[in-house]
């Protein structure tokens, strides 16, 4: 069997990325109340930020040489950039730590594609050959007693 050329590999990667993206959008929309709530939450915090500015500018007209509307524009730029980061990078990176801790990473490593980028298949699934502690894993039987370290592992993460 010949190795696929760079163009085919790129095409396959794009297809996988597209599929992953579709799955994520559908997952997100499945919880409609949650979607509406997070939308309201975003609006709420935006209102809080504007009220904070209004509070400071109640007692002054300029802050470090910036007037009210200049700071509002700055806030808008900040929110827009944060939005891009939240949408593209944050959810996956945030979940990674939890997946490593809880053992759910196992499930992802055995998939044929890296789910973080989807850019290339993992040659050996990242398995290092050593058995992993499974006591905390969701895959272990629900009736298995939890070890003390498992009870504490979710303490403050």
């Amino acid at each position: 069997m010949t190795r696929p050329g760079p163009l085919e590999r790129f095409g396959a990667a794009a297809r996988v990325l597209g599929a992953l993206w579709r799955v994520n959008v559908v997952e997100e929309l499945q919880y409609r109340a949650n979607f509406v709530a997070s939308l309201l939450g975003t609006l709420f915090w935006m209102a809080m930020a504007l009220l904070t500015l209004a509070l400071f500018f109640r007692h002054t007209t300029r802050l470090g040489g910036w007037d009210y509307w200049e700071v509002v524009a700055l806030l808008g730029v900040f929110n827009a950039l944060t939005g891009v980061i939240e949408a593209v990078l944050r959810p996956g990176i945030g979940e990674l730590a939890d997946e490593v801790r809880s053992g759910r990473l196992d499930l992802i490593l055995v998939r044929p594609w890296r789910s973080d980028s989807g850019s290339r298949p993992t040659p050996s699934g990242g398995w290092d050959g050593r058995p992993r502690p499974r006591a905390c894993s969701r895959l272990s039987s629900p009736s298995a007693p939890r070890s003390r370290s498992c009870m504490l592992s979710g303490w403050r993460s």
Partner: protein, 267 residues
């Protein structure tokens, strides 16, 4: 009583040791909690450069926001987020199987965590006061004792408020959203971003009808001396006592009916 002292000593010791495993995370949270008042102080410092703002000069802002950093560290309430997850993911089960109620474990956890972090904030304040005169407080042991009482009550109110709100997860999946909502409102109404005197008067009056000023602004003002007359003290402590009772009753009611409703499979 002795039995409870022994139980609490064991729980606090366990919580203290658990925290030792999360030194880096705790340092980062503490840094964040100090950053917010530091930023607010920076902004008011700049505004007050042109002259006092409604009687607040730069040094008064500095003392106020050092106080905010300390009281906020003492009265933090994070339990709602844990309870929410425990109930949702079934981790509440083994806590319910223990011989004492989960709330005692949470109280011990709070004591251990706050002993560690608040003493660091206090130490930072003392070091800052050595080199920076504006944040020095006059020597007043009586006032400090009243401050300790006010801070303890503030911590108790916020703890019960957070715990009761978190227990709403027995019914809803949005208990933490309610906490976020309170957190956002508290930025203004509890005096985190500005002393209450600098809010629009109608907002400040509305704030005093709620518990928010009693969990932050009141203890801070006891410490900085803004609360000085006996009438102010009585009003403040009466407000704290009333809200403590309200949230304690709320906790009891929510716990009693929620636990009857709770059922979990697996975990």
């Amino acid at each position: 009583v002795r039995q409870w002292l022994r139980r609490y000593a064991a729980l606090i010791r366990a919580a203290w040791l658990v925290d030792l495993q999360y030194r880096a995370a705790i340092a980062i949270w503490m840094l964040w909690n100090v950053t917010e008042p530091a930023i607010a102080l920076g902004i008011w410092w700049s505004i007050a450069g042109a002259g006092a703002v409604q009687g607040f000069d730069r040094a008064e802002f500095a003392r106020y926001f050092f106080g905010v950093a300390l009281v906020n560290q003492l009265a933090l309430a994070w339990d709602a987020w844990y309870i929410d997850r425990w109930i949702r993911e079934g981790e509440m089960n083994f806590r319910l199987a223990r011989p004492i109620k989960p709330v005692h474990e949470a109280v011990a956890d709070n004591i251990a965590y706050k002993l560690r972090t608040a003493s660091v904030v206090l130490l930072l304040w003392i070091l800052a006061a050595l080199v920076w005169p504006p944040v020095r407080l006059p020597f007043a042991p009586g006032r400090w004792a009243l401050f300790a009482l006010a801070a303890l009550l503030a911590a108790a109110i916020r703890f019960l408020n957070g715990y009761a709100t978190g227990l709403l997860a027995f019914w809803t999946t949005r208990a933490t959203a309610l906490m976020e909502l309170q957190f956002g409102v508290a930025l203004f109404l509890s005096g985190r971003l500005a002393p209450l005197a600098l809010l629009p008067p109608a907002v400040a009056r509305a704030a005093h009808l709620l518990w928010f000023p009693y969990v932050l602004a009141f203890p801070v003002e006891v410490l900085t001396g803004a609360v000085a007359t006996p009438a102010d003290y009585v009003r403040g402590f009466a407000g704290q006592a009333a809200w403590l009772l309200v949230w304690w009753a709320a906790y009891r009611a929510v716990w009693a009916s929620g636990i009857r409703r709770y059922g979990a499979v697996g975990g």
